[in-house]
Structures are given as structure tokens and as C-alpha cells.
């Protein structure tokens, strides 16, 4: 299948595997990412996987585009090593109208009861296509087609940290309070970014996520444990 190289100046280039946001395209991105990570050519700084392309960052003083692209082409032609299987997570989410201020309005617009919207959102195992926007912000798909809505016309200036949100065929959990245009349908009490953890970012591209509905009492209890430093997110890892 055709691969396209596009320039991002003299420190990076993209390896594009198409235009589509789908698992098959993303699997090729992740496979190349894994291969270059395992066997980096000289002068490689890092690689950044996104939906359908891999950004290859290099040091133009130590090497050059020609050399790095040749190494990437060789990696592409080499064995079709599959990326390491991602981890599996179960993230608690409270679908409470107070914590998900768009829940009721969005359910109305979709012609669904709020409970039905929550059940549909909680049904699939999501795939983390990529991280971006802010540290730890995962773009997860695919959202059930019944829940597909464009982003809000007026982005919020302040989305609370932990907000569980949807837009298009994607869902996410905001790791930080930040501006944001996605629809807020609930809240996760576990921080997706915690500078106090050895690995501050919880999710990685390629991970899989299930949302588990919890009631307000359980949400408050977990939030309290997090605040007191007693919550170990390793407990959210599902058995492989």
C-alpha cells in the first residue's frame, strides 16, 4: 500500500498511511512507531504516532532527511512486526448530570433517554488512537454511530479535569482543566495525568479502554482516595 512522505521542515517529516481514521490505518502507524523505537536510526529524536501518520523527528545536525527517510523505508519494507499489544483499562465514570452538563441536552438532541446514552457510551471497548491536545489526552474510538455529533459550536473556556466527553466518533477524558469543544457526559474520578506518579500519563496510544458506570457515592469515594494519595491506578488494569 502506498506511503506518502511529507516535510515538516528540516527536523521532521510525516509518514502518511492514508486519510482515514480507522484501526487498520492506525495499526500501520503503530507498527512503524514500534519498529523505529526498537531500532532507532542515528540522529532520531522521537516518533509521534497520530491517527493515520507517524511524525519522525530527527536532529539535522547529526543526520539528514535522506538518511532518516532511507531508514524508515527499510523499516517499512522489513518484517511486518506487529506493535506491542496495548494495555487494557477499566475507567470508572459517573454519568451524573451535575458532572456531565451536556448529558441531558445531548440525549434530547439524539432522541435518547440519558440512561440509554450512558449505556451506549459504556458498551464498547475503545481503542486509544493517539494522544494529543494536552498531556494525557487520549483520542479514543470508535463511538457508537448513534452517538455521533459534531463538536459544540461554542467551545467551553473551562472544561473540568476528568470530564468524560464525546465528539464525532471519538470519546476522551480531559486530563486537565482546559478549554474544550467536546460534549461533557460524565466524569472520571481517576486523574489521566498525575505528576506524582512515576509515569504521569495513564494511557498510551494503542491501549484499550472500557468505561464502567459508577454512582455518585462511588465516584466521591474514589475521588477521596485519589485526593489522599491512596488510589493505585494499577488496579484499573484489566487482566489481559
Amino acid at each position: 500500500m502506498d506511503v506518502r512522505f511529507t516535510s515538516a521542515g528540516d527536523t521532521a517529516f510525516n509518514v502518511e498511511f492514508g486519510e482515514a481514521i480507522d484501526r487498520a490505518t492506525n495499526a500501520r502507524v503503530m507498527a512503524l512507531h514500534a519498529r523505529l523505537k526498537a531500532d532507532p536510526p542515528p540522529g532520531l529524536v522521537e516518533t509521534v504516532p497520530t491517527f493515520r501518520s507517524l511524525l519522525v523527528v530527527y536532529d539535522p545536525v547529526a543526520t539528514g532527511r535522506r538518511e532518516v527517510q532511507a531508514a524508515v523505508e527499510a523499516a517499512l519494507a522489513g518484517s511486518t512486526a506487529v506493535p506491542a499489544a496495548g494495555r487494557s483499562w477499566r475507567l470508572p465514570v459517573c454519568y451524573d448530570p451535575e458532572l456531565g452538563p451536556d448529558l441531558a441536552g445531548l440525549a434530547g438532541a439524539l432522541g435518547l433517554a440519558a440512561e440509554r446514552l450512558a449505556a451506549l457510551h459504556g458498551a464498547p471497548e475503545y481503542f486509544v488512537y493517539m494522544l494529543g491536545f494536552m498531556p494525557g489526552f487520549g483520542y479514543m474510538g470508535d463511538l457508537p454511530a448513534e452517538l455521533e455529533r459534531p463538536r459544540r459550536r461554542e467551545p467551553r473556556l473551562r472544561v473540568p479535569a476528568g470530564s468524560v466527553a464525546i465528539a464525532g466518533r471519538l470519546t476522551t477524558v480531559y486530563p486537565w482543566e482546559s478549554p474544550g469543544g467536546w460534549h461533557l457526559i460524565g466524569r472520571c474520578p481517576v486523574p489521566l495525568y498525575d505528576g506524582g506518579r512515576p509515569e504521569p500519563v495513564l494511557l498510551a496510544a494503542g491501549d484499550r479502554v472500557r468505561f464502567e458506570a459508577v454512582d455518585r457515592a462511588a465516584f466521591d469515594r474514589i475521588a477521596g482516595e485519589v485526593a489522599e494519595g491512596r488510589f493505585d491506578p494499577a488496579g484499573l488494569r484489566a487482566a489481559p
Binding site: 493515520r52 511524525l55 494529543g132
Partner: protein, 367 residues
């Protein structure tokens, strides 16, 4: 020993640690190194010094490795008190500095040379004029704990030293060494040359998402930095750039220097705190040799763009590295205008017995 006494002893030890104490924080001073690479796949921006050339030169003057973290100062700098036996500092960039030493008249300190300060001195960093930022390096660097391998500060998410925020009143910036290094203060013979003319870009990665007229306009029209300008990027004002179809693409990776164009057609030049990925088509990327210039741009500054090929951009960068190495090589013992810096000379003589006032490092006996 009681727990309370232990705590007191620990506090006393902490107080005794050599540091620079922030007496006034200035408007926006952050600790930065050359960036937090390696974590963009987690959505972690690179951050780092907007003007990496200034940081590297300040570090060279302070005798540090090039990537040592220093202070990046925007607008108006902090006032720092020396709570260490002595410390050597050096600034690069258009930074006003004054030394207030007890019992002496305030003394203006020049950038692009080092200065050796002693306990109790107040270093008053003033306005940054003519560029967005200047850098201050301290010999030995700051004894701070790196976050994900870097001392760069990413304020938006509070990542980095000092909790990822700018300097605040009363901050104590621990120093990597308690005394200034031996030897005279040094200077750059000339301020660094950042070059002039259009910022050079490599077209792409999505130049094909723009009309031919838009690409031609981008490469010829004058632009101006708008009011919305920060460490994330600069909104540019000038002729709108027309997309072929929509401005939206599946989000892909960004670099410092990416020029993304949202639906409004007004380009945004992304700087060090840019997000790791974005969904707007990017018409071009500023080449790495011109990023120090881009990082110095302020609201109201005029700019334009000229295209070069990737190979040319790489060659320009390698030539620039040779020039920087030559400037660093030319660093020499500092001599104030009008004569020899006798204080530095005597200090050097006391330590080594000999100094070459012209070239440094020879064995011309003076004492």
C-alpha cells in the same frame, strides 16, 4: 532528637543551601532548557527556550554545557538575591540588568558577558526590549529535579520545576554550585547575529491543501505578529490564505515552526509550547536555523517568508552550528570599555598566578 528538632535542622540546612532567592518575580520568568523531547507520543509538548541560541550562548559564557537550564525572561525580569558564597551569571539577549551591592552605587551589567556576584548582591533584571525573551544562565545550573528528563517549564499544564509555573515571590532557586568558578569573567566579542530578511520555510506538510494563489501570497506578502502571541504560538495578521476545500485534516504531528492555517485563513506560527498534534492544515514549517529569530518575535513585529528545500535548510542549519561554535570559541576574558578589568585580573592572578590579558590562557607572567 525530637521530630520538631529534626525538622528545624532540615529547614536550617535548606536555608544554608546556595540559592538565588526571588525578591520580585518579574512578569514572566520561567526555567527552561532545550526542551522535553521523547514524550510527545503522550501528548507532552516539548516546551524549552524560545530562543535556544540565547540559552546556549548564556550557558557558554557561564561555562555550562549548552543544554543546561537557565531562566527565560519575558517583558520584565525578576529581582534575585544571591544567597550563596558567590555565583557567576551571564545573560544573552536584550536584557537590562543592574547590580545592587550593599554600600555601593547600583552598577549596570551588560549582557553577553559573565558577571561574578557575591552573597547579598541583588541582581535586578529589567526590561527585555527588542525581543520577546532573553536568557540568564548561572554557572553550574540549578539543582532542581528534572521532570520527564527535562527542566523545561510547560506552564499550561504545570509541568516542570517549581510545579511548572513562572517564578514567584520568595522562590529559592537552588544552585548547582555554592561558589563561582575560578577564573576571570568572560565576554562574547560581539553580540550574536540572528540574520535578517524573510523567515525561511520548507513548504508543507499540507501545502497541497491550499490554492496556488494562497501559497504565492504566503511566500510574498508582509505579515505582522498579532496581539495573541505567547509561548504556544503567534497569530499572524496579513492576507488570508485560501484552502482547497476545508481547513480540517485528521490531526497529525506538529513541530516548533509549523505554520497552521485554520478556517479563517490567518496563519498561526507555532512555538515551543505548541500542542503535539493538531487538526488544521499546515502550509509550511520555519526552518530550525530561523527558530531563534521566530522565538524572539513580539506583537507588532513584521515578518515575511521565503521557501527553501529541506536539503538547503539542513545545510543552513549546519553552517549556523559552525558559526555558533566559532562565537563560543571566541569567548575571551572580559574587559570593560576603556581598559582592563583590574578586579577580574587580580582575582585571576590570585588564583592562577598568571593570565594573558589579550588571549587568555597563555603564560605571560604579570604578578
Amino acid at each position: 532528637m525530637t521530630v520538631a528538632a529534626d525538622a528545624d535542622a532540615a529547614a536550617a540546612n535548606a536555608d544554608a543551601r546556595p540559592c538565588l532567592t526571588v525578591v520580585r518575580p518579574g512578569l514572566f520568568a520561567t526555567i527552561q532548557d532545550l526542551g522535553r523531547f521523547g514524550y510527545q507520543e503522550l501528548g507532552m509538548p516539548v516546551a524549552g527556550a524560545l530562543d535556544p541560541l540565547a540559552l546556549r550562548l548564556a550557558n557558554a559564557l557561564a561555562g555550562n554545557p549548552p543544554g543546561t537550564a537557565g531562566l527565560e525572561i519575558a517583558l520584565l525580569g525578576p529581582v534575585l538575591r544571591v544567597d550563596a558564597g558567590s555565583v557567576r551569571v551571564a545573560a544573552a539577549g536584550p536584557l537590562a540588568m543592574t547590580l545592587e551591592r550593599p554600600g555601593q552605587a547600583p552598577e549596570v551589567l551588560a549582557p553577553h558577558r559573565s558577571h561574578t556576584l557575591r552573597r547579598g548582591d541583588l541582581l535586578r533584571l529589567g526590561a527585555v526590549e527588542g525581543a520577546a525573551v532573553a536568557c540568564l544562565a548561572v554557572a553550574g545550573g540549578f539543582a532542581l529535579e528534572p521532570v520527564l528528563g527535562s527542566l523545561s517549564t510547560y506552564v499550561r499544564a504545570g509541568v516542570g520545576p517549581l510545579g511548572g509555573r513562572p517564578l514567584a515571590d520568595g522562590d529559592r532557586l537552588p544552585l548547582g554550585r555554592g561558589e563561582a568558578p575560578a577564573g576571570p569573567d568572560v565576554e562574547l566579542p560581539q553580540p550574536p547575529d540572528y540574520g535578517t530578511g524573510p523567515l525561511r520555510v520548507v513548504l508543507g506538510p499540507q501545502e497541497d491543501r491550499f490554492t496556488e494563489a494562497a501559497v504565492a501570497t504566503f511566500l510574498s506578502a508582509p505579515y505582522r505578529v498579532g496581539k495573541e502571541a505567547d509561548r504556544m504560538g503567534l497569530r499572524l495578521e496579513g492576507p488570508a490564505l485560501e484552502h482547497r476545500g476545508t481547513a480540517d485534516i485528521p490531526s497529525d504531528g506538529l513541530v516548533t515552526g509549523s505554520v497552521q492555517v485554520p478556517g479563517s485563513g490567518q496563519p498561526i506560527l507555532l512555538l515551543n509550547d505548541h500542542q503535539t498534534a493538531g487538526g488544521y492544515a499546515k502550509i509550511a514549517t520555519v526552518i530550525s536555523a530561523d527558530l531563534p529569530r521566530a522565538g524572539r518575535l513580539r506583537p507588532g513585529d513584521a515578518l515575511s517568508f521565503r521557501a527553501v528545500a529541506v536539503e538547503e535548510a539542513e545545510a543552513i542549519r549546519r553552517r549556523q552550528e559552525q558559526a555558533i561554535a566559532a562565537w563560543i570559541q571566541a569567548i575571551r576574558p572580559a574587559r570593560p570599555a576603556g581598559g582592563i578589568d583590574l578586579e577580574a585580573l587580580y582575582a585571576e592572578n590570585l588564583i592562577s598566578g598568571t593570565v594573558d590579558i589579550v588571549n587568555g590562557g597563555s603564560d605571560l607572567p604579570l604578578a
